[in-house]
């Protein structure tokens, strides 16, 4: 019989009305006894009350407050550093945040689609994917696995220039430039911990933009790291699979 997978959930909360949503979303994971790390934005009204409520709903969880730097990416980097600081162990991370993307046309369905990975019926399938193939590094909603355009030996999208620099700096050479848009996915812990053991997540976080940056009009370090979080894993000869 397979042992129960050790899970750590890193959940970033930005919006003041996310408490019920978070509790509902995490309910299906409770049988797996995950380690829960929450990051609430320091600017979120009612953060203290939300933190108290989370600790009541999920005893033993950890809550940190960090500034709105690098949006959910900056928060996830802070939580990764916190996780490493605690010297806890996990087989898989689940990265989540209370995405709303109010500026986008598809905002209403975006979050729901991304959350397919924690629908009760899908959780067992996720672990099956990981267990069946050691090279399976990330499991995400298939519609949000997209490929960053790469033409004539360089990235050609809006974040292209930054991506060229970053993959060089961090020595990332994935076989394909697929990544999970929206940064909500299951990921094998080992490659992330190995990478962030070499490159301190807080040092990377320093470089991210402050506030609610978007990459609709120009490239951002934050959105570039959205891609790199996937490529850290796929550079280890692993692949992304969709459900």
């Amino acid at each position: 019989m397979n042992k129960e997978p050790a899970i750590a959930v890193l959940y970033h909360i930005f919006y003041e009305d996310s408490y019920d949503l978070v509790c509902n979303e995490l309910q299906p994971l409770q049988p797996y006894h995950p380690i829960l790390l929450f990051n609430i934005c320091t600017n979120t009204p009612g953060k203290n009350q939300m933190s108290e409520a989370l600790k009541k709903a999920f005893p033993g969880c950890f809550v940190i407050f960090t500034s709105n730097k690098g949006k959910d990416i900056g928060a996830k980097l802070a939580m990764l550093q916190f996780f490493m600081q605690l010297q806890l162990t996990a087989d898989y991370f689940l990265l989540l945040h209370d995405k709303k993307s109010l500026q986008a046309l598809k905002s209403a369905t975006w979050k729901d689609d991304l959350l397919k990975v924690i629908f009760p019926d899908n959780i067992a399938a996720v672990f099956q994917r990981f267990e069946q193939n050691d090279q399976c590094g990330i499991v995400a909603t298939k519609e949000y696995i997209i490929t960053e355009p790469f033409e004539e030996n360089k990235f050609s999208g809006i974040n292209g220039q930054l991506l060229d620099e970053l993959v060089l700096t961090y020595g990332l050479r994935p076989d394909s430039f697929e990544f999970v848009a929206g940064t909500m996915f299951w990921v094998r812990a080992a490659p992330l911990l190995q990478f962030f053991g070499r490159f301190n997540p807080l040092e990377i976080r320093k470089q991210l933009e402050n506030g609610n940056v978007i990459d609709n009009f120009s490239g951002t370090v934050t959105h570039s790291w959205e891609r790199l979080l996937s490529w850290i894993v796929t550079s280890n000869k692993m692949f992304i699979t969709g459900i």
Binding site: P45, F62, F65, T66, Q81, F82, Q103, L105, I214, N216
Partner: protein, 302 residues
């Protein structure tokens, strides 16, 4: 000056200019991280209402244990750095991520502002330039500016800087009256004599006996929290307004992107090709045959 009260005969008092100090209200009680780690079993006995000031006098390898403790207790806390650590640039830089993450824990107290006291065993030191390293690191992580008040464990007179004061209790034998000196003082330290947390609990309980009603402190903290909350709501209102205006430009761009794609992928095709495409649609059942000749008929089938 507050109303004088008698100290318990078992309590070791400190003397300031012939008077015994009134203990400040709702203060942070200084406790060394080393002592905390040596007494993990006693930590649950600490009343959740006690606020603590952790003196980070442990090596880097012991920080994970400290995180596990502080991440799970209910007590609000501050962190302080020993002056020796701050003056050792290499050591200080190595623990900056730990200091930042400790200050990010939800029970880290910002009631008195962003304060990270530097505490020396000996006489007061002048400002340490290495505090710039801490300041810059924290600012780069997106925090508001911090203050680094210097205090000494040897000085038994009240030590005060902006937003923060520090009182050290030293053992003396006689009983005296006490009077209010700093009703809004924030940090208390015991110079010596505490071997474990049980003793710490006893002293803090005794100190609390002699504190003024928490009125000033409570209102001060509540006011601070209320102001912060108000500011957060104001920022949030501005954010939602910016989303409204941003969504217009973003959706406009998305609309023109789609239109542009349509023009390049479909509109550029020759007319005969497009017409042929409509016949294929009819053959596939995606369009009614009669709509090819009369606009009155429903064009597309669902």
């Amino acid at each position: 000056m507050g109303e004088a009260v008698k100290l318990d005969s078992n309590f070791q008092q400190n003397v300031y200019n012939g008077h015994i100090m009134q203990v400040p209200v709702n203060p942070y009680y200084t406790i060394s991280a080393r002592l905390l780690l040596q007494n993990t079993g006693s930590i649950p006995e600490m009343a959740p209402a006690i606020r603590i000031n952790i003196l980070l006098n442990i090596p880097k390898v012991q920080f994970p244990d400290l995180f596990l403790i502080l991440g799970t207790i209910k007590n609000n806390f501050l962190i302080s750095l020993p002056a020796g650590v701050v003056s050792d640039q290499q050591l200080l830089v190595s623990i900056l991520p730990e200091c930042y993450l400790l200050s990010s824990l939800d029970n880290f107290s910002l009631a008195a502002g962003n304060i990270l006291p530097i505490i020396a065993e000996e006489a007061l030191l002048p400002g340490n330039k290495n505090t710039d390293l801490i300041q810059n690191y924290f600012l780069e992580q997106g925090t508001r500016p911090w203050q680094f008040p210097n205090f000494s464990l040897q000085q038994t007179v009240p030590q005060q800087t902006a937003n923060c004061s520090f009182n050290v209790f030293c053992p003396v034998s006689n009983n005296e009256d006490i009077e209010t000196i700093f009703p809004d003082a924030t940090i208390i330290a015991f110079a010596a004599g505490i071997a474990d947390i049980t003793a710490f609990n006893k002293y803090t309980a005794l100190v609390k006996t002699y504190t003024s009603p928490d009125f000033f402190s409570t209102t001060f903290i509540e006011k601070k929290l209320h102001e912060e909350e108000l500011q957060n709501w104001q920022q949030r209102a501005l954010l939602y307004r910016s989303f409204l205006s941003l969504s217009k430009s973003v959706q406009q761009k998305e609309y023109y992107d789609v239109l542009d794609w349509y023009k390049k992928e479909y509109e550029a095709l020759p007319l005969w090709y497009k017409r042929f495409g409509h016949i294929i649609k009819v053959l596939m059942g995606k369009r009614s045959f009669r709509s090819l000749f009369n606009d009155k008929f429903k064009k597309n089938t669902d």
